[in-house]
């Protein structure tokens, strides 16, 4: 048995004022007592996903809000450019795994806190908080939490299978905080249009009619590098390798000079190649704090939670906007409504793939499609495994009819944005012109 940590007098006075006394704005189920704090300290398990700008703040904030059973996951290692905001890291930590260093720092500073820097089975947590910069990862976690939901025979959600998710995101001086109750309130996929798809410059602009410095950098990145392989045939671009950035920068300058374009510099080159999102300590502090407050409310019921989305921007004054994001009745992740794809028989498979990537409702990244054809599972297309990609590539130019797909057929789609495949029912219109 580990001896319980002795708290000193007054340690939790700030929290106790709120947790041991009720008020008119508390959740109807709130019962003020000293047991609430014990629950936060000893029982409530919180999973923090991401130990970067938001993650560092979240760990600190949660630990001071009474939470002790915290796990943190992050696959990244510490880089010099993290130190302007990720305050649990020092110069000596560069190259070390973020999760381990962050956990050790918190456990050392805050007496009794037990942050573990490795993943545990997600179903063991009471609350999940996301501080990620990747939309794909966020969507995957969302899908994971939805897959844990159980329903009784009448389709009523078993509340004990529900793990709330608090999600934060920042970009420059903008940020947002949201609370998702999977299966009850809007999930990440319900509101995909809030995350605009990444904008790429059209290939013809990059190749033929560059106008901006960014076009010149993209030309070198997308077209020149694969042609010239400046660092060897198998060497791809490493955005952290200064030699690579320098090569791209110099060639982008050449191209810019050719067209009389000004403004290509090293910083911009690195920004475009690594798709760098500006980040500053203050915005991360704000968004993580709002998330931590929501976790605290969810776990203690001391106050109603955010319903359910808050946008923040402090470039011009300080601005917040709170609204209720609504569930999408046909959400591919949380609605349990079968997803339908409507095409005609002579649609090419590549158009279907394109649709899955570009339609605002799905925004898949690299969908793999499997269908049952002649009683056999047939991979129609898959880009994530190179050998399968090569074998199935010719299918892209075939029509759905040629691939033997029929009306009413199920197509199973796997994608990095979801832990569970999405089952689509194909609605095929016959080609009325006849051919």
């Amino acid at each position: 048995m580990v001896a319980e940590v002795q708290d000193w007098p007054g340690r939790w006075s700030h929290l106790q004022a709120i947790l041991e006394r009720s008020g008119p704005f508390a959740h109807p189920e709130f019962e003020a007592s000293s047991e609430v704090l014990s629950f936060l300290e000893d029982t409530c398990r919180v999973l923090v996903i991401g130990a970067g700008g938001l993650g560092c703040e979240l760990l600190k904030d949660l630990a001071y809000m009474g939470f002790r059973q915290i796990s943190v996951i992050d696959m990244d290692t510490i880089d010099l450019s993290n130190l302007n905001r990720q305050f649990l890291f020092r110069k000596k930590d560069i190259g070390q795994p973020k999760a381990t260093v962050a956990a050790a720092f918190i456990n050392n500073r805050i007496v009794g806190c037990k942050v573990t820097p490795y993943p545990v089975f997600i179903a063991e947590f009471h609350i999940v908080v996301c501080g990620l910069d990747s939309i794909v990862a966020r969507r995957w976690i969302n899908g994971m939490l939805i897959s844990l939901l159980t329903y009784d025979s009448e389709g009523v959600l078993d509340q004990s299978s529900l793990i709330p998710m608090v999600d934060g995101g920042t970009e420059g001086f903008k940020g947002n905080t949201r609370v998702c109750l999977p299966g009850v309130t809007a999930c990440i996929e319900c509101t995909l249009e809030l995350y605009p798809p990444q904008i790429n410059f059209p290939m013809c602009t990059i190749a033929h009619t560059p106008r901006l410095p960014e076009h010149c950098i993209e030309y070198v990145r997308v077209l020149l590098w694969p042609q010239e392989h400046p660092f060897g045939a198998s060497v791809g671009i490493d955005g952290d390798d200064p030699d690579h950035i320098k090569w791209i920068y110099e060639h982008a300058v050449d191209r810019a000079n050719q067209y009389g374009i000004t403004g290509v510099d090293y910083r911009l080159t690195q920004g475009v190649v690594k798709r760098i999102i500006p980040a500053v300590a203050s915005t991360n502090a704000v968004i993580a704090a709002a998330c931590a407050t929501e976790v605290f409310k969810l776990a203690s019921s001391c106050c109603q939670t955010l319903n359910n989305y808050m946008n923040f921007n402090d470039a011009d004054g300080v601005y917040t906007y709170t609204f209720e994001a609504e569930r999408n009745e046909n959400c591919a992740a949380c609605s349990q409504v079968p997803q339908v794809l409507r095409f005609s028989e002579d649609t090419l498979l590549q158009d279907v793939v394109q649709h899955l990537k570009e339609s605002a409702a799905f925004q898949l990244r690299s969908p793999g499609l499997v269908a049952m054809v002649n009683n056999k599972n047939k991979t129609l297309y898959m880009s994530t495994v190179k050998s399968i990609e090569e074998a199935t590539k010719p299918n892209l130019k075939k029509t759905l009819q040629e691939l033997g797909l029929r009306d009413g057929q199920e197509i199973i789609v796997a994608d990095p944005t979801t832990p569970k495949s999405i089952v689509f029912r194909l609605q095929l219109a016959t080609n009325m012109d006849g051919n």
Partner: protein, 513 residues
Amino acid sequence: MESGPAEKSKKYDRQLRLWGDHGQAALESAKVCLVNATATGTEILKNIILPGIGSFTIVDAHKVSGEDIGNNFFLEKDTIGKSRAQVATELLLELNEDVNGDFIEETVDNLLRNNSGFFQNFHMVIVTDLPERTLVTLAAQLWESDTPLLVCRSYGLIGYMRMVLKEHTVVESHPDNAIEDLRLDHPFRTLTEYCNAQNMAEMTKKEHSHTPWLVIIYKFLEDWKKHNGEMPRNYKEKSKLKEMIREGILKNQDLVPEDEENFDEAIRNVNSTLVPTKSKPFWILARAVKEFVQNEGQGRLPVRGSIPDMTADSERYIQLQNIYKEQALQDIAIVTNYVHQLLQTLGRPQDNISDSDIKTFCKNASFLQLIRCRSLAQEYDPATANHADIAMHLEDTDDDDLVFYILLRAVDRFYSQYSKYPGCYGDSMEADIPKLKACVSKLLQDWGITQNVKDDYVHEFCRYGASELHSVAAYMGGVAAQEVIKVITHQFIPINNTYIYNAMKQSSITVQM
């Protein structure tokens, strides 16, 4: 030629993309003072130390208590009883080796009495947890010496921030979605010549579809003005112009319009392009720009000199871009002349204002911001308090966050009366509710306001018992740090002047008190 970035620019890369090297330089040469190393106070400092503030000084006479360690990341358990200023300074300094920091274990009252010039040595003073009387005295002194003051507070689930500065000017306000400055309503000579030389009737299909929309709108506007004399003004006229542009799309032999993205862009841009070019006036630079506007500019600001991206071939896009750049350079040269004349009459050397400052000013001429806050003295004097706004907010709805401003003022009144805050943990909350209610009534009475504050809020504030929750302190620490950075860099727009954060609903408001 530039080589790989130095270590510093790598460390600060993600923020340099927001405020640039010159913003960073301003930050690195700034000295700030924090009064009281509370959780809110140290969180603010953390968020300006990480991005590399020049130096900080903590003024705090308190010893570290058990409560302090319960909510403050920059105090450790074994430091109970030690100087709070010292412990916080040491732990904060670990965050960034480029930053200098020191502390003074002294009360503000003593400093004001014995070292009256002390606070004027800083570029900005940040205050947390100061009794009303001391705060008002300090604020009056800082107001006199023109030193910006930021007051910040976390109280239960409510946050408060007050900016106190006489006057603050912003050249680079970094507006989101600014309207482009294209002068199609008053084209300058080189733009006119260029557009007139573009003969769309004789273009190949490819050239036609890669003609920048700027040229297209110009041509159709000329056409419009020939027939109507004036620019299209209302919705109907603008729609008509759009229709004319749509008619200009090339058609194939079956008379079906081709796909011409540049024409679509032109139609989309008609509305924003036709917003008339306006001017706003600002001190020596502002005066110089004013001269320009009155003379060479014929009522208009210097041309900004940039165009948005649009479908076009590289050659014509760059040509157009250069036409705008050249015009901007010409305008800047004229403004520079005025600046030098003005400096001469003021008996100041010519290099008092650098060429790059003049250039930045001209480019931002339509985004300049001037902020003048009311003083704390004006706010705290019932005769000059902004009771009209308070009454209006109370009238508005039950859910207005301004009510928390009133309650924060009421708990201060409670404190000056009873030497403690209402409902402190360990005390009876119930007994303090009527007392706080009386404070609220007195306050409203002072302001001559007849509306009342709902009892629920009074109850909730007694529940808070002046507790400082870490997550609320961390939120305010982020918001306040950003305001400090804005004031120091003269970039982005600070609040004017009071910000209230409601963590119960994650909502907030800004009001002028």
